[in-house]
Symmetry: C2
Subunit: 453 residues, 2 copies
C-alpha cells in the first residue's frame, strides 16, 4: 500500500501565525488616506476595524501568538491533512510527485474559516456585537457566519448577486449558521442604490459588496467590518496552512520544488506561500506560482498602482496590481476570484520576483477539475480548479524538461456547493474568456489621478 | 488545549472486514425464492450480482481480506477521523463524552463509498462492464458513480424522483463523476411505466427505484446491479467504520457505554455497530441504539416478516422488519431513510435484543442538526440528524440518571448538498409526521400471503 495522507496530531498544530512583513527585503508602500494622500493611521481604520485587528494589520512582528480560544476552534478541522494525489499523478504520467493541503475538510468547505475564526474572536474581545462583510462565491460569507455564531456575534453578509443566484445553498448555509445574507447590490445602502439606479440588472461585484458592507458598518451601532482577503491580517491568519504544510513535508523528508495556489484576493495563496517565500528570501531554491483567471487577470495584465479596494472609494488607497476599482468582472463561475485587485503583500512579492503569476481560462480549469474529480474523487471548487490547471501545466513542463519535481499546492476548497458550474461546463454552456485590452485602458483611466507607488 | 480528533495513519487502516454472520448466537432465517418458497441459491442471484459478491453475501467467515486495490482507494479518505464533540457537549450540559466517526470526509460526503468501492472493484474483476443502481437522497448514487469511474465501469442511477427534484446537486455530482442519473419512476422500464400509469405524479420510493434498476440489469448486456444497503455484503463492507472506531477509542483508553447510528436500510448503522455487537455477544456491557424516522418506522412499528425488497417483487423474500413492499413513505427530507424495510442482519439483532430501535420525527432531528451546526460547525445530512436527536435524548437520560456516559456514534455524512431541507426547516415549512396506524394494517395485508419467518 502506498501512503496517501500525512496527518498532524491536534497537539502539533502551530501555536503562532507567520508574518511575512518581518522578512521583506524591500519595504512595501503604505496604504494611503485618499483625502490627504498620507499613509493611513490606525485611527483612520477604527471606524471599521477593532484596534486589536488594526495592530495586527500594521504589525512587523515575525511570529504572532494564536490565542487559545482560536486554537480550540481551529481544532474542529485543523491541522488539515496533507494529501499525495497519486491517482492524478498516474493520470498525468509526468515525472512529478503532487502533494496538496486539503482545506476542503473545514465545516464551510474551504480555507476561509482560518481567517473568520480569529476575526470573530478579536471582535468579540473588543466588544463588537455585530459584523458585516461581503462575499463572492459565498465561501467567505459562510465561514464568517459560522465563526460569528461560535463567538455569539450577529452577522450580515452582502453576497455578489450573480453568486447569490448561482449558489443558493451558500445563502442557506449562512442562515443555518444564524446569519443574514443579502444579495448585492441591494437597496439597503446608498452605495447599492447608486449602482441599481444606473444598472438595475447589475450582477454585482466584490468591489460593490465591500462598499455596501462598509457603509452598513459605519452607519450602524456596535458594528465592525470584516474583509475575507487582501489585507495583511487576513494573510497572516492564513499562514497556518503553509506552516502546517512545512511540518508535514518535513515528516516526509521532502522539500517542494514548486509551491502553488489560486489567487482571487490572495489569501489562500499567501497562506501556503508566505512561509516558503520566507525560505526563498533566505536563499532557498523554490518556485512559487499564483494562478488567476484570464477573465480577471490583475497580476498578469493589470498595472501596479494605488487603487481603492471597492467601487464606492471608501477604503484606503492600496498599492497593488489592479484592474481598476470600477471593474465588473465577467460572471465566470469562480466567484471567489472575481476581484479587481490583488493583496498588497502578494502584489509586492510578484514585483520583487519572489512569486510568478500565471493566468488560466475557465475551460482549462474545469477540464483539470473534472479530471481531478474522476481520479482523486474530491470535487474541487471552481476557484481551486485554477491551481489544478497550473499543476497540470507544471507537470507537463517537468515532462518536457525531463526533470523530476515535487509540487505542493493548496487545494483551497471543495465544489459541492458549486455543482451548477460543473453542470454548465459539462453541458457545454461555458466558454473561455480573456480580458480584452480595452479593459486595461479603462483600468488605467480609473486610477490616473491617484498617487503613484 | 483540549484534544478533538484522533487519527489513524494510513498504515493503520484495517486490512479485513468483519462479518457478524460468524458470531450470531442464533441463526438467521434465509432469504426465500418467492416462486418456490425455498432458500435462494447462489444461482438464483447470478442474474443481478457477480459470483464473487454472492459468495460474500452468503459467507459465514469471520474476517474477510480487503483487496489491495480497494484499500488503496479507501486511503483517499480513510481511516476517517474520530472526533470528540466538545462544543456540543458543552451546549447540552450533560455528564457525557460524545465521540463520533466523521464519515463526511469522503469525496461523496458520506459512508456510502465504503461499499461502493469494493462493489465496483469486484464487478470489474468479474468482467462486468456496466452497473445499475437506485438512490434515495443521492448519497449512494453519487458514491457508486465515483467508484465505477475509478474502476472504469459505466453506471446508471435511478434516483427517487422527490429527491431528484429536491437535490439537483446530487445528479450533477453523478454526472461529474461520469454516470447517468434518471429520475424514478421513469419511462425506461416496465416497472416505472406501471407506476406512472397509476400515479403520474408519484414521488417515487426506494422500492420502485430498485425495481427499475433490477429490470434494467436483467434486460441489458454485461450489466450487474448494486444495492447500497440492506444486504449482508453491504453491511460487511461498512464494518470498517466500527473497526477503525474501536482502534481509535482504544488509543484514547475508552470503551463506549452507548453506540448509535441512524437507520435507513441499516448499512451505516451496522457499520459502526456490528464490531460492538460482537463484543456484546461475547459478554461486554454496551447499549446499541438505532435511530429511525417516525415517518418510516420499520423497526419500531413494522412487523417482522418475509417481504420483498422492492415494489415490483423482483427481489428474494427477505426476513426483516417491514412496512410492506408497497409502502410509499412520506416525502420527508431524509431521503436516505425512506425505505420500507430494514437490513435482515439488523432486524435479526433487534429481535434478539442486541439492538434497541428508537424513532424520531423530523422536527426533533432538524432541531438537533441546527444546534450541532451552530456549535460543532459541520452541517449534518438530514439522515445524520436522526442519530443526533438520539444522542441528545441519551445525553438527557444520563443527566436524569446522574450517570456519566461515553457515547460513540456514526456521523454518517454532511448536509452541504441537502441545504434546501434546512431552508425548509428554518422557514417553518416542515412538520412532524408519525406513521398512522392504518398504514400498519396495509403493511400486514401486503405480506399476508408470504411464508412466515
Amino acid at each position: 500500500m502506498e501512503q496517501v495522507k500525512t496527518f498532524l496530531d491536534d497537539n502539533e498544530i502551530p501555536r503562532q501565525w507567520y508574518n511575512i512583513m518581518a522578512d521583506l527585503p524591500t519595504p512595501m508602500k503604505p496604504p494611503l488616506h485618499p483625502g490627504t494622500g498620507q499613509p493611513v493611521t490606525a485611527d483612520d481604520l477604527t471606524a471599521i476595524f477593532p484596534m486589536n485587528i488594526i495592530e495586527q494589520e500594521v504589525s512587523t512582528q515575525r511570529w504572532i501568538d494564536i490565542p487559545d480560544d482560536v486554537l480550540q476552534k481551529y481544532l474542529l478541522w485543523r491541522p488539515s491533512p496533507l494529501y499525495r494525489a497519486r491517482n492524478f499523478e498516474k493520470l498525468l504520467g509526468c515525472p512529478v510527485q503532487i502533494y496538496y493541503k486539503n482545506e476542503g475538510v473545514s465545516p464551510a468547505g474551504s480555507h476561509k474559516p482560518n481567517a473568520a475564526i480569529p476575526m470573530a474572536y478579536y471582535n468579540k474581545v473588543a466588544g463588537t456585537k455585530r459584523i458585516t462583510t461581503e462575499t463572492g462565491a459565498g465561501q467567505w460569507g459562510s465561514a464568517l457566519s459560522m465563526a460569528t455564531q461560535m463567538f455569539g456575534l450577529a452577522c450580515r453578509v452582502y453576497m455578489v448577486r450573480v453568486s447569490y443566484e448561482q449558489k443558493p445553498y451558500r445563502r442557506m448555509m449562512m442562515n443555518t449558521w444564524g446569519a443574514e445574507c443579502i444579495p448585492s447590490p441591494s437597496n439597503l445602502t446608498q452605495a447599492g442604490r447608486n449602482v441599481l439606479a444606473e444598472h438595475p440588472d447589475s450582477p454585482g461585484s466584490l468591489g460593490i459588496a465591500i462598499s455596501e458592507a462598509i457603509e452598513d458598518t459605519v452607519t450602524s451601532k456596535d458594528t465592525k467590518y470584516s474583509l475575507g482577503s487582501v489585507l495583511n491580517h487576513v494573510l497572516l491568519y492564513q499562514s497556518i496552512i503553509g506552516l502546517e504544510a512545512q511540518k508535514q513535508m518535513q515528516k516526509l523528508g521532502l522539500y517542494p520544488d514548486v509551491v502553488m495556489g489560486c489567487c482571487g484576493g490572495g489569501s489562500n495563496f499567501a497562506g501556503i506561500a508566505t512561509p516558503y517565500v520566507c525560505d526563498k528570501i533566505h536563499g532557498k531554491q523554490v518556485k512559487i506560482v499564483g494562478a488567476e483567471p484570464t477573465s480577471c487577470p490583475s497580476m498578469t495584465k493589470g498595472p501596479f498602482a494605488y487603487d481603492f479596494g471597492d467601487l464606492a472609494k471608501t477604503t484606503p488607497l492600496l498599492p497593488m496590481y489592479t484592474l481598476g476599482h470600477d471593474y465588473i468582472p465577467a460572471p465566470i463561475h469562480a466567484g471567489g476570484l472575481r476581484y479587481h485587485g490583488m493583496a498588497p503583500i502578494v502584489s509586492h512579492l510578484v514585483r520583487e520576483n519572489f512569486i510568478e503569476p500565471r493566468a488560466y481560462d475557465q475551460m482549462k480549469t474545469f477540464d483539470a477539475g473534472v479530471k481531478w474529480a474522476r481520479s482523486e474523487g474530491f470535487i474541487p471548487a471552481p476557484e481551486t480548479n485554477h491551481v489544478l490547471a497550473a499543476v497540470v501545466d507544471e507537470a507537463m513542463r517537468a515532462k518536457e524538461e525531463g526533470k523530476e519535481k515535487v509540487i505542493l499546492f493548496n487545494w483551497s476548497g471543495h465544489g459541492l456547493v458549486d455543482m451548477a458550474s460543473y453542470d454548465a461546463y459539462l453541458s457545454g454552456q461555458l466558454q473561455a474568456y480573456e480580458l480584452p485590452d480595452e479593459e486595461i485602458q479603462r483600468a488605467l483611466l480609473a486610477i490616473k489621478d491617484f498617487p503613484k507607488p
